[in-house]
Symmetry: D2
Subunit: 136 residues, 4 copies
């Protein structure tokens, strides 16, 4: 099982060369991860903000394989590569006709002071369940 | 008949006050209008770009009634207020629990030199059809 | 006296037609107003956030006269049109070779509950001073 | 010698947690690199677009060390790590009070068909000159 979301490439994503401007890809990676947390891990970013917590990105690594164009529909595929005490690793791919990019992200759960805090039991259980299904 | 699209308020739309930052509302108005052109008027922005045409915004007027918050789903409602020789007027509203904003936009169809050009017959017919259904 | 700021048109502002995408103009209007508050009114947005206050935009009206292109330098000119109890009106113009747009904005000072609150005495004095110099 | 640019953290860069939202850092990396090309390599992005060329990003790797807050001034420092036949490697750091992030980027010069093309002689000479000064 992989978590998927389709994001159409719209005008606001594209640069003067008519292709997706790379900062806009990161609006997309953020959106995919945000929806994963809400739908799979059971915690919306709104709930995290209200609790003065968050999951900032600590590290990322991206290979851009081919450009994406206005009007295409990108299928984003997310898998969890690692679940640490307070961190999580994601692998995201964006697909059009062929693969457009692969991104590896590391996020860390932090509390009100910006210090790492352990995953809540239920989030951990849900993410672990997702990982088991994904690797099955 | 009104053209509707739902846009969830995600992290990337929100400012340090936790509400939608107004430039992001315009990414939304642009997206709603872009999808209206593709779905109702029968012309995608990708097709327009390929033909070296476009529909830039000439004027807009917005009343922000109430803030929108992270995690809400905004329903955008678009109606056509006027169809000129090469211009078009839109009224857009964004709704959460209550109305969040009303926007009046005027767009002009332009050709490769940036000069106004008349609507293609089929676009005009489709938009006129939409207006008739909307006012019925 | 008019408050001026130069903003170069960079890649991230431009759309597939090679001109400034209108939502990016609003990132610019917000930046000009933000700097006006810090430099003229003596209140940074950071200080406002810390005090749980803000100056959200309640209304805007923009005429886009001519497109702006990648590589141009836009001179933004701001004047204050009205200072109310808790509101303020701005007129902004963006100039390249010729005028590119005129924007009229109304902002309202709000407190922690999102309700209008009166201007602080010092802010009011500074803005009034700016208006007198501007009209002199 | 290192290429430096200061970018103030403004409202539009910040998320509901009051810190720079990571896609906005990439608007900044793009701006720093864009200005490096114009000022050091002698080629503006506007000139590249007119010639139907470009320098898309092929790969990037970022470590986010600490968050940046509204109102800070970030000093960006760019050095060239590698100059290939049609590629270039950059190392960028953003500094506030302490280092906020380190980014390694690889860009490739491409022509109208999106295929890699060799650096122009003058660009190569200028970039090589920069590298010699940087390592001196």
């Amino acid at each position: 099982m992989i978590y998927r979301r389709v994001i159409p490439v719209e005008f606001n994503h594209c640069d003067p060369a008519g292709i997706v401007f790379y900062p806009r890809y990161f609006e997309m990676t953020n959106s995919v991860v945000e929806n994963f947390f809400a739908e799979v891990a059971g915690q919306s970013y709104a709930a995290m903000m209200a609790a003065r917590e968050g999951v900032p990105t600590a590290r990322l690594e991206v290979d851009f394989k081919a450009p994406s164009r206005l009007g295409e529909r990108l299928e984003w595929r997310l898998s969890v590569t690692r679940l640490g005490g307070s961190s999580i690793g994601f692998r995201l791919e964006a697909w059009g006709v062929e693969r457009r990019l692969t991104a590896l992200l590391t996020l860390v759960r932090v509390g009100a002071e910006g210090r790492p805090i352990p995953w809540e039991q239920e989030m951990r259980a849900r993410i672990t369940g997702f990982m088991e299904a994904q690797d099955a």
